[in-house]
Symmetry: C2
Subunit: 297 residues, 2 copies
DNA sequence: AAACACTTTTCGATATATCGAAATCTACCG
DNA sequence: CGGTAGATTTCGATATATCGAAAAGTGTTT
């Protein structure tokens, strides 16, 4: 058997958990209950991570927290990933310019991982932190799939509960088309959408509750299907509450390397939405070009 | 058996290797030969790391390189490690002020790991890169041991080849005392010292050659024992070539959390050496204070 | 001071990852 | 276009990590 390497997978899970909870310290049993890893196995993995300096153990409290080794690793990863490095810098200056929250995220497997957060949102939204991992279930992840081959879009849709998959398969192609056409995604703020975000966050935070929350999520997505969440046509004179504007940064292969998100715009006219979107899109194109990427087609 | 978790240890080794070689891509067999991990086992671990986004695989070339996940992890580690974060910022401004190379490093087990490098050295020295790991064998690591309990100093000395251990045990207590007294370490540049650095770097780079290089290292350390490498008394009017000035940043428990190193000063008077050292020491004390640390005693 | 509740560590049987070698695949070269 | 050298992937026996549960340790409460 060659696939598993169970202990390495555990090491990854543990590191991801610490990445999502910066500055926090956890005991062995907290990690055991949070991640569902057997105590003895978790101990072995924690010792290996400690030996390498990825975690340090407080000798009295017997808690683990992040050590210095990931700092060097993160530095190396940033050097090898020009797009993220540039995106961080650009988002920082955009945050000053726009006075709202800006986020850089990437897709890893079937999850979105937050890599940078700058500024604060105008609208109260689900709180976003670096290291957060959210399962990329529609409508989350539109920019990551707007330029994808049909097979990948299908895999994305298949993550939906089967009760809502049918209607999603009807609506989503049009919205993905609108995103492709416009170059960025616009989603409207609504209580339903906020609750979807909260639920996904809660599922990520408490993996043990995930099965219970799936039903709830399915209902919310079904409800969202009835609303207009992805804005297809923008009227310049209507006032909107915007949940997110998202623009893609492409890599050399024409795939979405990083997504730049502008979060929570309160009561803005369609005209202004267009201005924000174009500005965000221009930054995304700049980062694409400077990092050696190219748009598809 | 609870100690091993072999696969987790391999994951750590592989990540360390990538941390030390930023932006580089490696094939399975390159990693296999470089790290001495069985091909099949290495493949399993690499797949686990890839699933988590710590590595990405180039589908054509079949090479692995760092993915985006370590960026989030590094960010979290920095948030939890105020001392390193502050040290990086302070070293950056010092590099502008001093026009030489400045380095932040930490001790992990029996190794020193480089976490930040700013500026360029005046003297040609072994090249220093973020992520580098060097086995901390005397004379390397003086600041990390100047305030340590005797047992740790002994463990450090025991890493020396037994042929030179005896003389080192005679000389080092005095030099550690001088470091403690002065608050920072001063080591002189010499061909022997440079070659020790090169050899340690080479051992870290090619673990397979390490046993062959141990003899060479022992000879060099023996030769260094004859020279004056740690400067005990500084004459204000003599001109020195300085290899390193190193000042400690302490954590809340009074242990050395980070070492700040100023590398390669060419032809400076003793008076100037003192100025540099005091400035570096002042920065180290500032970082200690701001990060909530305290000096021992 | 003693019992309690909790966490960490240890332990032995079993399932499984690891190892070395062989088989397959890929790309280069004649 | 066929051969070859290198790499990747697969395979089966063996060593070993994993699991559940019990033991030892730690700090708190009564």
């Amino acid at each position: 058997m060659v696939r598993p390497a169970l202990a390495a997978g555990r090491a990854v899970e543990i590191l991801n958990f610490f990445a999502a909870h910066p500055g926090q310290a956890y005991t062995l049993s907290e990690l055991h209950t949070a991640l569902g890893i057997n105590l003895a196995s978790a101990l072995a993995v924690l010792q290996a991570l400690e030996d390498g300096g990825y975690l340090v153990r407080h000798p009295r409290r017997k808690t683990y927290e992040l050590g210095p080794a990931p700092i060097a690793l993160g530095d190396a990863a940033l050097r090898g990933n020009r797009a993220v490095d540039l995106a961080r810098a650009e988002l920082r200056s955009l945050a000053g310019e726009f006075d709202t929250e800006l986020v850089a995220s990437v897709a890893i497997g079937d999850e979105v991982v937050i890599l940078a957060v700058e500024g604060r949102p105008q609208l109260a939204s689900a709180d976003v932190r670096v290291g957060q991992r959210l399962r990329m279930v529609p409508p989350l992840g539109q920019v990551f799939h707007a330029w994808s081959p049909p097979a990948e879009v299908d895999a994305w849709l298949d993550r939906l509960d089967e009760r809502v998959r049918g209607t999603a398969r009807i609506h989503l192609p049009a919205t993905l088309g609108a995103v492709r056409e416009r170059g960025y995604s616009i989603t409207l703020d609504s209580p339903t959408r906020t609750r979807i975000g909260d639920t996904l966050e809660r599922m990520a935070e408490h993996p043990r509750e995930a099965p219970l929350l799936r039903d709830r999520l399915a209902e919310l997505v079904a409800a969202l299907g009835e609303e207009e969440y992805e804005l297809i046509a923008v009227d310049p004179d209507t006032t909107y509450d915007i949940s997110t504007l998202v623009a893609p940064v492409f890599d050399a292969a024409g795939r979405v390397a990083v997504a730049l998100t502008l979060n929570g715009l309160k009561a803005v006219t369609g005209r202004r939405v267009g201005d924000y979107g174009e500005r965000l899109g221009a930054v995304a194109r700049l980062v694409t070009r400077r990092s050696g990427g190219r748009a598809p087609e």
